[in-house]
Every structure is written in C-alpha cells, then in structure tokens.
C-alpha cells in the first residue's frame, strides 16, 4: 500500500512532512488523530449517502418485516416471525424460488455455454469481428423496459413476428400464446433474457480470452493437440476466473429479476412468471401489505447474501487473493 500522507508504524520515516524532529509522544498522538480525521473526512460524503439511502432502508426493511403494517405511520403491530412463517407457506413465494432456480439452471446450462462458444469463435481472426461484437453487445445497452416492450410485441399472440415466422415455415400450430400461456411463459422469458444478456457474458469471456498468452495455445498446437484438446486443457482452465465471475453475476441477476417481468407479464398469467421482486412489489405497492413485502425483501437479501458469501468462500477464494487483498483483512 502506498501512502506518504500518513506516517504510521509500517511506512517507515515520513519523507513528506519536514517534521520538527521526533516530537513528544503527545504531539505524535495528536498528529495521528489529525491524519485519521483527514483520511476519514474524504469518506464522509460517501458514508452519508450510502448510510442514509442504502443501509438505513435495508435495516428498516428488516425491522418492518416483524410487523403487520400497511405502510402509514410507524409499524406498531408486532407479530414476531409470522410474516416469515407465512412466506414459506405461500405458494406464490415458493413458486418464485422454484422459478429462480429454473432461470439459474437454464442460464448456466444454455446461456453461458452459448456465450462462451461465440466468444471463442469471435476470438479468431474473422471478417467483421468488430461488427459482430457491437451487434451482440447492443441488446445489453437497451433497458429491460424497452427490451420487454419490444418482445411483448414480437411474441404477441397471432399478430407477432414469432407466430408469422413460424407460420411462414409451415409450423402454424407451434407458437400461440407465448407469454399468455402458463406452460410457455418462462421459456419465452428465458429466450428474451438470453437475447439481452448473453452479449455481456460474451464480452467478459472475450476480455478473458485476450489475456491468455498466445504462446500457450501455440505450444499446445505444436505438441499436436486438436482444437477440442486445446480448448479443454489450455483455454478453459485459464478462463476459469472469468467464468466464475460470470456465473456469479448471472445468479445474482436471476435472483433480482424485476424490470423485464414487470413490463412483459407483471408476473402473470396467474403468477406463472412471478419473481421474488415482483411478488414484493405486488404486496408492497399494490396491496399495501408492507410488513409482509418487507419480509420478502429480507428473504431476497438473505438468499443473495448466503449465495454471495458461500460463493466467495468456496469458489472465488483463489481469484480474490491478490486481486483484492483487502477482502481478507478486517471484518470479513
């Protein structure tokens, strides 16, 4: 760590301030305090903003989750853990958990391998590589709201592009209700998510691929390794840190999914595409069961936190060493 502003025990003699010899201990203590205040002073705006608008609401959600509360005045009807008991008996919330797992599974099994394959393909010297990159990444720039409206029209029953294309190639009966049919709504949503997000993961992989020294692949080539062997034994292990990050972001994204679902289906038909965030929104802002909605928030936070901590502990540990040495320091 480079610091010359604060002379502490570790950083040796202070070259910055022409100090009046080594003053009495009291002067040193005072100087230390001044330096501490300077350092922390720079943090104050960030702490105020983060404390009031991020931490405080989170803590309040935790508090409110123990009350039956309509959202006006202060919560006063304390009911202990009843909201949570209700939560884990609520078929909609249990369905949310199941749908979340479904999206995570589909993303890991289909979306990310697809993104990886395209990244490997685009990492070759092919014509128009830059254009493909732009094209695949462009959906990521569009908001989920715009993406949602676009695809709700493309998959509109009967009139949408999807049905017309299927009709044109002689598959009349295949499409149909898309977002309106409980049995197809999640698959269609997943298709839209893939369209929007695989480009982001592809870009991550491309960045990772470029950091792999070409000599390694060339050496494998000279040793007679085929394309699959080169990929399996050279590229994949070296790309592992990038893959782990991408999986992490994908899972966290699935847990938090809201915008797309709200715009396209608002959770319907009959809760069949609802996510935790949508359920929270329904209870909190439409039905004014703010205490119960807070319990959903807390559950979402708990799930994200447990996943993130476990992932950091067991999967990311090797990657984080060196990259962010501070993570091992105090607190965590």
């Amino acid at each position: 760590m480079t610091s010359t502003f604060l002379p502490d025990k570790r950083s040796g003699p202070d070259v910055g301030v022409p100090s009046p010899a080594a003053g009495p201990a009291r002067g040193r203590t005072r100087r230390r305090a001044v330096h501490w205040l300077t350092a922390v002073g720079f943090q104050v705006p960030a702490l105020v903003l983060f404390g009031t608008l991020v931490l405080l609401p989170m803590l309040f959600a935790l508090y409110a989750s123990f009350f039956r509360w309509g959202g006006f005045g202060m919560p006063d009807d304390y009911i202990g853990g009843d909201n949570f008991t209700r939560l884990f008996q609520d078929p909609v919330f249990l369905g949310d958990l199941w749908r979340c797992l479904l999206l995570v599974g589909l993303s890991l099994l289909l979306q990310l391998p697809f993104a990886l394959a395209l990244a490997v393909a685009l990492n070759q010297r092919i014509r128009g590589r830059a254009v493909y990159r732009m094209l695949f990444f462009a959906p990521y720039i569009l908001s989920e709201a715009i993406t949602g409206v676009l695809f709700s029209m493309i998959f509109a029953p009967d009139d949408g592009l999807a049905d017309h294309v299927l009709g044109a190639i002689g598959l009349d009966g295949v499409g149909g209700q898309w977002f309106a049919d409980p049995s197809t709504v999640m698959a269609t949503l997943f298709l839209v998510m893939t369209w929007k997000y695989f480009g982001f993961h592809m870009m991550l992989y491309l960045a990772g691929l470029q950091s792999i020294p070409a000599e390694l692949t060339e050496a494998a080539l000279i040793d007679g390794a085929g394309p699959w062997q080169r990929f399996r034994n050279v590229t994949l292990p070296l790309l592992a840190p990038t893959l782990r990050i991408s999986v992490f972001l994908s899972v966290i994204g699935s847990i938090q999914l809201f915008d797309l679902v709200w715009v396209v289906t608002a959770g319907g038909p009959d809760h069949h595409s609802e996510t935790m965030a949508v359920t929270m929104f329904q209870y909190g802002f439409k039905r004014y069961q703010v205490g119960y909605a807070s319990a959903i928030s807390v559950a979402m936070f708990g799930i994200s936190l447990v996943f993130a901590l476990a992932y950091q502990r067991f999967v990311l540990r090797r990657d984080l060493q060196g990259a962010t040495t501070t993570m091992r320091g105090g607190g965590s």
Binding site: T2, T4, F5, L6, G16, W36, T38, A39, V40, F42, Q43, P45, A46, L47, L49, F50, T52, L53, V54, P57, M58, A64, L135, P139, I141, L142, S143, A145, I146, V149, S152, M153, I154, D159, L161, W195, M203, L204, A207, I245, I252, I255, Q256, W262, V263, A277, F285, V290, S294, S297, M300, F301, S304, L305, A308, A323, T324, T326, G329, G330
Partner: protein, 254 residues
C-alpha cells in the same frame, strides 16, 4: 440477433393495418408519420430531457463522492479502513429491490417524490460500491513518487488529489461516468416508484406507458420504441471502449 431491432425499425414505417397484412416484408408504401408524429410531440422530448438530466445528475454525484472515498481508500493507511471498504464492497451484492420499499417510504417522508433528486440521490448511493472499487484500483496504480514529489512541493492531500490524481485518472473517471450514465438511463424500478406525475418520467417509464396507451396501434409503438432506443445505442457507439473496459474491470475487480 439484430432481427428484432431491424423488424422494429421496419414496422415503424408501416401503418398498423399494413403491419397486420404484411408483417414480415418491407413497408409498401413507406410511411414516416409514425416517427415524425412522435418527434413532433413535446412529450417524447420531455422524456429525453428528463432522462438526460437525471443521468447527468447521478453521474456527477456518484463520481465526485466516490472519487473522494476511493482516494482515501487508495492512498491513506488509517484505522478502520478495511472495515469501511468491506462495508462498501458488501454493497455490490445488495439487490436494489430489497431496499426499494423502505427507500420509497424514506423518500416520501423527505418530500422527494416527484422530484428528480428522489431518483438521482438513491441511484448515486447504489452506484457507490462499484465506482469506489474501480476508482480505488486505478488510484492505487499512480506511483508513490509522484505523491512524494507533490508533497515536497507543498501540496496537501487535497491539492494532490485535485491537481495531480484526478487529471491523471481521467480515463478511469471516463469509464465510471459511462457506467453511471448507462445505469441511470436504464433504471426502471426507481423512477416508477418516485414519479407519479408524468413531469419527470424517464424513457423506460415513457415506453411502458406509451405501449399501454396505444396498445392497439402496433406500428406507432414500434416507432416509439425505435426512437427510445436511439439515444442509448448512439451513446454506446461513442463510448463503447470505455463501457466495455469498465464492465470487464468492474466485474473482475469486484
């Protein structure tokens, strides 16, 4: 991949009647009134203006506040630093939806509903973790010798920060600014909660409302969508390098 986009652009040039008779082919005749009507109406430009103002405000706040904090994290050794930094990095995994409800109540009690600050400040607050992590990485790479030289020349911490560190970190500041702009531009949930009145609606809200209002006039909605996409895609074309660099740096350093 580009098919949905091309389809939307072409459909915007059809009439709704034409769209249902001839959904896939080229428009015949090409009708421009869908696009021109929207461009001629004040409400669309109001959305663009509001989105721009909110994105600019969010970016200014989050970059300024994060730069100060990242400076302190990168260049000072002080008691409690690791604990504070962990606090902010924890923020990387807080889903916004978790805080949405109490945040709404807080903003209501502060009188910030239907006020652009009600979106700008929370967006900046939730952007802090990522911005601080990225900026701290960059600030650490500026050599200590420069700091020593500046100190010998009489710079205090603030002088070093303002006169040397910030100008040197301009590429990094560009990257985090681009990320902040895109994040703000695409945000949906927070503006949805905060803005009841159309005065401050942003583009994502406007698009959703427009579709609700003209649900039967497909061609118009397509034209509206295309126009709503233009600013984001244009910004992307200009800032692609910084955006992609920032996302990959943020993702791997976070």
């Amino acid at each position: 991949m580009g098919v949905p986009l091309v389809y939307a652009v072409l459909s915007g040039f059809k009439s709704t009647d034409q769209l249902s008779r001839n959904p896939i082919g080229l428009p015949d005749p090409w009708i421009t009134s869908n696009y021109t009507d929207i461009l001629g109406s004040g409400s669309f430009w109001q959305l663009v203006g509001s989105s721009t103002l909110i994105a600019a405000g969010t970016t200014a706040v989050v970059v300024a506040v994060s730069a100060l904090a990242a400076f302190s994290f990168a260049r000072f050794a002080f008691r409690g630093r690791e604990m504070l930094f962990t606090l902010f990095t924890m923020g990387l995994m807080f889903p916004f939806a978790v805080a949405a409800l109490p945040l709404f109540l807080l903003l209501r009690s502060m009188g910030l509903l239907d006020n652009p600050l009600g979106v700008i400040l929370p967006q900046a607050a939730f952007g802090l973790p990522m911005t601080i992590v990225i900026l701290r990485g960059f600030f650490r790479e500026i050599p200590a010798e420069l700091e020593e030289a500046a100190t010998l020349d009489g710079c205090g911490p603030l002088g070093f920060f303002w006169r040397i560190l910030l100008p040197m970190a301009r590429p990094a500041l560009g990257t985090v600014s681009v990320l902040a702009v895109v994040g703000s531009w695409n945000n949906f949930l927070l503006p949805l909660l905060v803005f009841n009145e159309p005065t401050w609606w942003t583009i994502p809200i406007g698009v959703q409302q427009f579709q609700g209002q003209y649900s039967a006039e497909y061609a118009r909605v397509f034209a509206y969508l295309v126009l709503a996409m233009v600013p984001a895609l244009a910004f992307y074309a200009v800032a692609e390098r910084q955006l992609v660099g920032g996302l990959t740096a943020g993702a791997t350093k976070g």
